[in-house]
């Protein structure tokens, strides 16, 4: 642990964080999840060997994952390679695009929904100017209208039902 902190301090001055930092986070994340499943599994009941209960399999897999994630943490703390630099802007924009689709498709219809989704998704890339984004969104939404509703015949409303 002390060794790890030292290494963190070392790397704090440099451009990239060491992967050890992320690796430990990932392992810890899985450890937390496995504990949730173990506790939840015991609450559901593990049953007897003959009649394995609802919670038996979550508990078994949870224990295996808990052991493995401790192993992962131990292994990753020794990893001194540079970590990937997270791209939180794209992270938010792509998540936002999915959220926009989910919020709009049932309310204002597939075509306008896709239009807004495309614009949201294209925001983090500065190499496409705003008029270009509009054009792309128009093109994609119209093409999807033709493809999914016209050709494939999926039962979506293209536009909001007017009633």
């Amino acid at each position: 642990m002390r060794e790890f902190l030292l290494r963190l301090q070392q790397h704090a001055k440099e451009k990239h964080a060491p992967h050890a930092y992320f690796g430990a986070l990932g392992g810890a994340g899985f450890l937390v999840l496995s504990i949730i499943f173990i506790v939840g599994g015991f609450e559901l009941g593990v049953g007897s060997p003959r009649r394995l209960g609802t919670g038996a399999f979550p508990v078994i897999t949870g224990f295996i994952l808990a052991l493995l994630s401790m192993g992962v943490i131990a292994a990753d703390l020794r990893d001194t390679t540079d970590a990937e630099k997270p791209d939180w802007i794209s992270f938010v924009a792509i998540g936002g695009a999915l959220a926009v689709f989910a919020l709009t498709v049932g309310r204002i219809g597939l075509v306008p929904g896709i239009f807004l989704t495309t614009i949201t998704a294209s925001l983090p890339d500065p190499s496409l100017r705003f008029p270009g984004k509009l054009g792309l969104a128009a093109l994609v939404s119209l093409a999807c209208w033709g493809l999914f509703i016209g050709l494939i015949g999926l039962p979506f409303d293209a536009f909001m039902r007017l009633n």
Partner: protein, 319 residues
Amino acid sequence: MKHLLALGAASLLFAAPAYADPGKWTDEPVRIVVTFPPGGTSDLIARVLAQYFESEFGQKAVVDNRPGAGGTVSADFVADQDPDGTTLILGNNAPFTIAPTQFEDLPYDPMGDFTHIAYLGASTPALFVQPSSGITSLEGYIERANTDGITYGSSGVGSITHILGQAVDVSLGIEQIHVPYQGSAPAIQDFRAGVLEAYYDMVALNGDLITEGETQPIALASPERSPLFPEIPTFRELGHDIVIENWTGVSGPAGMDPEMVQTIHDTIEAIMQMEPVIEQLAKFGIAHTEMSSEEFTSFVDGTITTWAPLIKAANVNGG
């Protein structure tokens, strides 16, 4: 309110002659919501209906599969739609008969949130045992269950075959060991591999296995013997009043216009009388009986009450 009721009753009276005017009831395309993924019997029935709606009556219709949570996802969706005849559900025992007892927090009321329109028909499950077991009668089955124990396969927890197994436990005073599968096909596979002693399944889907001598039907859960398999006795004639059938019908959201309901009912009834449709449904082991919308409504209500104790006994919601 009184006026409305009177108006409804009057229009019903005028429309009383059976299938007076089958035909188109809306200019919009109708979506028939199916509680199962594509490919099952239910889906195929919906597709047959949609096809004939359009080809015979010019009523455009599409099938909309919304599987999930024992059909409750579909039913919840339909309950929330406008009652303008553009959304119908191909309902069955899962969301309307079993779910109301199975789930405490059901998001819809199976009676109050729906207009039950037309009954289509039902298929019948039967009890099957290993031919090598030497069991040929219900008495033999009871005896074996009481001495060596019987392990039976069903098509899932809370499925109609599980409820039937439960009803048999109660009615025959035995305790079978229940092994749930996902659908009847894998249960039959394990049965043929010799893993299970018995299973419950729709009799019409087991015709080949019966003729091949791979399986032995013992008793049928319909009120009367099946015309397809007249040699199989019913539970009822063997002295056990077990009638559990897999029914299917068409319903819509609550508050539909009674005249429209009548039109839809008559259109469906007209389709159900057509020769190719009768043949098609016979292949799925479904025989159609006519019911008016009112009869169908009280039928659905009736199944909820009569099945409730069995579903509770089956303890399908865990524990």
